[in-house]
């Protein structure tokens, strides 16, 4: 108080300028305080934002691309209309959703969220972050045993509602095969011979791009499953087999044998660019998933796209295993509206829900046997036949093994193999010792 009266008299002496100066300092302080508040406020608001949703179910979606986003919206709309309940969809960018999944599930997840089948789901089930839905499964109809296995955790309980899948296969252009009189290879020897012929005809036999690190995993998975069988492949993925095993070495040896027929410089090429060289008839074949090559074709050319299952290496295993990643839905442990969420999951397991989705997104295939295939295009029909005839369904390397192993060990290792295919022993030794460290943590 004394201070302010003193300065008041000083102000009288020195004029308005000084008082004005003082004022400006105070306003500055006040503005600073306000500014700090303004920074902190939104954070507080968002913290308060997520209250319980009443009768509505929240759903975390990673379908950020326009085509799947609309297709999912169609399916949820249909549910809202029949059930008179609300589905609140929170869509997050596909990659961010995956990268933040740990924090998402530990924090305040949506009731239901989109995820992948297989180990990648079991991992979270084991950590106790999912609610088991074994009570719903007996009511589900139209799912094969292979699908049920993929939806089951290591504790034998079901956690997952499968929705659609897309098989991996060897894609080619029908017109190119007709023009040169190529035949679809059944065995690996025929495959290699075909590749040799293609090269003679001036084509790049196998379009190949692995800049993103994951596309080449598809080739490895198929080579391993064809040469050593699904059981071995799965236990290798689960860390139960040694990577220095001669059977694994053989897989890389086989791969090295056909690597010269792959497009060179794969580590600098995206899979999109690889698929484009197939679309432009520069390349003869490519190993990719069903949704991938079609996106790079013009609408007119799309009917020309076809595929054949990855050729047989060992007659004991034939072509019985198919790599077909399944996408679907999970119920979070921390879900606020579990009753509503289970009701939604029940609907999502019906053929109707899948048909509505696939009407808008023809790049996938329904998992439910009873879903109508009337609206399928030729490629989808063929894909549906391929997976329904499969004895075993694998997911994909990054879904069948620990995410850290796939991401920090296998991606660099496969890229190293592509750069230097001759040092297989050194490579496998390095993979094995890293694998031991990672899997020891379990």
């Amino acid at each position: 108080m004394a201070q302010s009266s003193f300065s008041g008299s000083a102000g009288q002496y020195s004029g308005i300028g000084d008082a004005g100066h003082r004022m400006s300092r105070r306003t500055l302080l006040r503005a600073t305080a306000l500014g700090t508040g303004a920074v902190a406020l939104p954070a507080l608001l968002t913290a308060c934002g997520s209250g319980p949703g009443g009768d509505s179910v929240t759903l975390g979606s990673n379908a950020s691309d326009p085509v799947p986003k609309k297709a999912f919206a169609d399916a949820f709309d249909a549910y809202e209309k029949t059930s008179k309940k609300k589905v609140k969809v929170n869509t997050v960018d596909h990659n961010s959703f995956q990268q933040n999944i740990n924090r998402y599930l530990k924090g305040s997840p949506d009731d239901v969220f989109m995820w992948f089948a297989g180990y990648r789901m079991q991992f979270f089930a084991k950590k106790g972050l999912l609610t088991d839905i074994s009570d719903l499964w007996p009511e589900f109809q139209g799912f094969s045993k292979a699908l049920k296995d993929q939806s089951t955790g290591e504790d034998g309980k079901q956690y997952f509602v499968p929705y659609y899948y897309y098989p991996w296969a060897v894609f080619y252009r029908k017109s190119v095969f007709q023009q040169h009189g190529y035949e679809v290879p059944k065995t690996f020897d025929q495959y290699t011979a075909l590749a040799r012929r293609m090269r003679k005809d001036g084509l790049v036999p196998i379009a190949f791009g692995d800049k993103d690190g994951w596309p080449a995993m598809g080739t490895f998975d198929y080579l391993d499953m064809r040469a050593n069988g699904y059981e071995f492949h799965l236990s290798l993925m689960r860390g139960k087999e040694s990577w220095t095993d001669p059977r694994v070495k053989r897989v890389f040896d086989l791969w090295r044998g056909i690597l010269p027929y792959h497009q060179q410089g794969a580590n600098g090429r995206t899979w999109q660019e690889a698929a484009q060289s197939l679309a432009r008839k520069q390349a003869g074949m490519t190993v990719l998933g069903l949704p991938h090559p079609g996106q790079q074709f013009t609408a007119a050319d799309r009917a020309d796209l076809d595929f054949f299952p990855f050729p047989e290496i060992d007659s004991r295993y034939g072509q019985e295993a198919v790599e077909a990643p399944v996408d679907g839905f999970l119920l979070a442990k921390k879900a606020k509206n579990k009753k509503g969420a289970k009701d939604l999951l029940k609907y999502l397991a019906t053929p109707d829900a899948e048909e509505r989705y696939l009407k808008s997104d023809p790049n996938n295939v329904a998992v439910n046997d009873r879903a109508s295939t009337a609206s399928y295009n030729a490629l989808q029909k063929k894909a549906a036949d391929l997976v329904s005839g499969a004895r075993q369904i694998s997911q994909f390397m990054d879904r069948d093994t620990r995410p850290d192993f796939a991401q920090t060990v296998m991606i660099p290792s496969i890229q190293r193999f592509i750069n230097d295919p001759d040092d297989i022993d050194g490579l496998l030794k390095s993979i094995e010792s890293q694998k031991k460290t990672l899997f020891a943590a379990e």
Binding site: I101, K106, Q264, G265, P403, P412, S433
Partner: protein
């Protein structure tokens, strides 16, 4: 009563601050300090602590001692390439891009024709983020669809970004393109403030152009040199976005910052292991920070001499002095 006033004045004299002032200062200083502790020191120490544990972000945190470091040095193939690449970045930016930026600044300062045009052209990349520079590099250098290979039109196209022996140099070139412009503009500003009479004096004393530059001009640019040095080190150690944009920092483009991200962010969630890499990066950075601080403090201790040269550099004062002498 008469004695009360002087006593009060005496008491207030040395104190000078009221309770309110103290409160305001306390809040204004305290908040940043708290923020500094919470945002800088807290996470730093937490990282160091976590680097001795194994944690997947969900389960329990388990103490593993130095195992992460042991694995990192002996059993993690990308680590040594990443460390080497970080040093390569430092060497390239420090020994090639920065001197080149200085050269450009000197040339522009001499007044070549169209200097404004060159100046803006060379400075333009600085407004781009390194991620954008990465995308531009891909447009030019992509093996199949890049502009450069289209121009070269060779039968066996060079895989500029996919060949692990080659791509690091391409990326350094792209990063250097941006860095050079940045350094140039800093030196240009510095050179403009160098007192011309210094150069005149040097010329009168019979110094050649080279001697004038290295013995007279460059030493007066010391503050700019320090800033440029700091920026160069920071750019080299924090490099991340450009390689991540090009190929997620793999296959020859590994960097410590990328490995930290790969292990901590994402589904991998090897938080303890990633923290160990982050600590290595911290130690490397600390080396440079300590060296810088030691130098700065030593400089601060030297009384008189240095300060005078600094003052002499201020053009206004120098001119005044000159005018006084003329009078």
């Amino acid at each position: 009563m008469p004695s009360a006033i002087p006593r009060r004045a005496r008491r207030r004299g040395p104190r000078r601050f009221t309770r309110r002032d103290l409160l305001v200062t306390g809040v204004l200083l305290g908040l940043p300090i708290l923020l500094d502790l919470a945002v800088i020191w807290g996470p730093t120490l937490a990282s160091v602590g976590l680097s001795f544990t194994s944690w997947d972000g969900i389960g329990d945190i388990e103490w593993v001692g130095g195992r992460n470091y042991h694995d990192l040095f002996t059993d993690y193939p990308p680590f040594w390439p990443a460390a080497r690449n970080n040093l390569l970045w430092l060497a390239f930016l420090g020994l090639i891009a920065t001197p080149f930026g200085l050269l450009l600044a000197v040339l522009l300062d001499r007044g070549v024709r169209f200097s404004r045009f060159y100046q803006s052209t060379l400075y333009m990349p600085v407004v781009l983020s390194l991620a954008i520079v990465g995308f531009i590099a891909q447009l030019i250098l992509s093996r199949d669809q890049g502009a450069l290979n289209a121009v070269l039109a060779r039968d066996n196209p060079v895989d500029w970004l996919g060949d692990p022996d080659l791509n690091i140099w391409m990326i350094l070139l792209a990063a250097g393109w941006r860095h050079t412009g940045y350094v140039m503009i800093l030196y240009l500003a510095g050179l403009k403030s160098v007192d011309p009479s210094l150069k005149e004096a040097a010329a009168i004393d019979g110094a050649g152009a080279r001697q004038t530059f290295f013995r007279v001009v460059l030493p007066t640019l010391r503050p700019v040199n320090v800033i440029v040095g700091v920026i160069t080190v920071i750019e080299a150690l924090r490099a991340f976005d450009i390689v991540y944009a090009v190929n997620q920092g793999r296959n020859g483009l590994e960097l410590l910052s990328v490995l930290v991200t790969d292990n901590i962010i994402g589904e991998a969630a090897r938080i303890g292991f990633g923290s160990a890499i982050a600590v290595v990066l911290l130690v490397v950075s600390l080396g440079f920070i300590v060296a810088y601080l030691v130098q700065e403090m030593r400089q601060g201790k030297v009384p008189g001499g240095d300060r005078e040269t600094r003052r002499g550099k201020v053009p206004g004062k120098a001119q005044e002095k000159g005018e006084e002498e003329r009078r």
